[in-house]
């Protein structure tokens, strides 16, 4: 049993008929994820990948009682989709959509906070509890069940590091991406809180990158909490120039703020083992897990 999603998660897909939504619904179903319904306004009554499609989230709730939603709708409609899910009391929302305006993201986060809803993303590869449930676009074969919790700001870099863990026999309890945007839902600190209470998780991998100060604040949290489980981190962008967005909207150094150096220093001071290269993460974890 990992965090947030497990074998009992019953999910809907908002935007199930789009290219991405359709393709990834199939892969999620293949993985064994319980996708109970899809939502596409105007396509109610049809079937996609063997899953019944409805016009609204409300109808899926009445017919299937889902407890999670994964959203693939285009950015201009993402805010509506999230608010629809929140209004219908869906408690876990994975917002895969990229390029969501900051103002919209801020608005949905305020509603989610009031309604005690967990949002992962926007601009996230999603979340996987290996062997149980996958709500996301990550390649499933690189993960395997185990005791390492992984939380990351990046997609492919997570796959890179997770493959390394899996190759060395270190399975994962739950892996997820917080999203590459400046405004995201569940963050590193909240993830660490959840992993702390999760008995299956024995150690955590944090994958950070330049921009903002989430890593620094997480370091403060780790120190204050005397965090009880070993943490290994990797921070990407040590040689990124200032003032340039590096692929992710959130990955930007402003003047002296948001540099990898500042993040690495803060994490090391908090007792986190920081890997110099992605491939060093596994070795540091093995060492950290030794009795």
């Amino acid at each position: 049993m990992g965090i947030i999603i497990n074998a009992d998660t019953k999910a809907i897909v908002q935007g199930i008929s789009g290219k991405q939504g359709n393709y990834h619904t199939k892969l999620m179903l293949d993985y064994g994820t319980k996708i109970v319904a899809g939502v596409v306004p105007g396509k109610g009554g049809t079937v996609a990948n063997g899953v019944p499609v409805y016009d609204t989230v409300k109808e899926t709730v009445e017919a299937h009682s889902p407890n999670a939603s994964i959203i693939f709708v285009p950015a201009p409609f993402a805010q509506d989709a999230v608010l629809e899910a929140i209004t219908n009391k869906i408690k876990t929302i994975v917002l895969v959509t990229e390029h969501v305006p900051i103002k919209d993201a801020i608005n949905v986060m305020a509603y989610a906070n009031q309604s005690h809803v967990t949002i992962i993303g926007p601009n996230t590869p999603g979340i996987i509890t290996p062997g149980e449930c996958k709500l996301g676009i990550m390649p499933a074969n690189i993960f395997k069940p185990g005791s390492i919790g992984v939380v990351s700001r990046s997609g492919t870099l997570t796959y890179e590091i997770a493959s390394g863990l899996t190759a060395k026999g270190l399975g994962q309890s739950t892996c997820f991406g917080v999203g590459g945007d400046p405004i995201v839902g569940l963050n590193f600190i909240e993830a660490l809180e959840l992993f702390k209470e999760n008995p299956k998780t024995k150690a955590i991998v944090l994958i950070g990158e330049i921009g903002g100060n989430m890593e620094e604040l997480t370091a403060e949290y780790i120190t204050q909490e005397r965090y009880p489980k070993p943490i290994v981190a990797y921070v990407a962008g040590r040689f990124a120039p200032s003032g340039k967005r590096m692929g992710h909207a959130g990955a930007i150094i402003m003047g002296k703020q948001g540099t990898a150096q500042s993040k690495i220093e803060a994490l090391i001071n908090a007792g986190v083992k920081v890997a110099e290269k992605p491939s060093d993460v596994t070795a540091l974890l093995v060492k950290a897990l030794l009795p």
Binding site: I102, A105, Y159, E160, G180, A236, K244, M246, K277
Partner: protein
Amino acid sequence: MNLFEYETKQEFSKHKISIPKGALITESTQTAQAIANLKPPYLVKAQVLVGGRGKAGGIISAKSEKEVEEAAVKLLEARIRGLLVKQVLIEEKLPIRKELYVGIAIDRFNRSYAVLVSATGGVEIEEIASKTPKAITRTVIDSQSGVRSFHSLAIAKQLGYSGNQLVKLSTIIQKLYQVCIDNDAEMVEINPLAETETGDFVALDARMVIDDNALFRHPEYAAKETEALSLQEALALKNNLSYVKLDGDIGVVGNGAGLVMATLDLLNIFGGKPANFLDLGGGATIEAIAAALQIVFTEPDTKVILVNVLGGITHCDDVAGGIVEAANESKVKKPLVVRLVGTNQQEGQKILANAGISVLESMEEAAKQAVEITRGAQT
């Protein structure tokens, strides 16, 4: 997207935030007409999207029409910190008592906006933050209520104002928040906000950054081109690729922002210098991949190209197809180092093997090999 000072001030005007009287010119022959309704003395200000414009000589004081014209001639078509000046703003220079800072920024941790104010404006907020962090007051905004008068009054009070001035300043803070919301800004600042000798508040300089992801709601900005794009930048934009030019000699193409940043870090660790950052994003098509390769092939400084792809939604056979297409079409031949693993890995490796391109499975090995090739090229 960064707006010019005069564009931001137009938005201020719409929202009734006071700005100095002024006029925009694009040719020095327009000066007489521009200052016909302005009172001396004047400030002649180059419109360029760069910090520290004043220090770089982009703002000139003038007392007469003749001096304004001289300043305009000097600034137009000049370069300020490398950027070409195409427009000049001429404004009345006001007698001022004090310079403040007022800005709205994104607060990532609180997932909202924050109002930043300081009694010591006129210098960049970053400089204030590093020298006197306590001089900045930061107030996180509840996005559902927005900035209400009781919020902005409390902020204005912290700057030491009372009576009529307190209310005036508070109103400006509220209006600035509205400018931010109406324009989908990720940052807007008045720096300095001048307290004039008559006790009024006037926005002397202004900066606003519009959220690129919200441009679909702002066709007035989306249509504008603020910077001339290089050949490579235009090609990247057309194909939805994230591209940043750097100053080294190893061209880099990969999928995923984090993975590409990690690739740049590895090259540096092994003593190499990347020529660029190029993220294909997820699920790139053969055409987009070929365009990415074309971008790095056509960078003159690039001696070797490193492709690092870990395929999830991106398919290795598409990547291989794009590489072969670009390599065949390119007039310049440059050595390629390819790391390709993930979805449809074997199909991809086969396509590359048939084209005589060898493939590695470890990104570290690939980075090392690319660095070694540049060393060989130097000797």
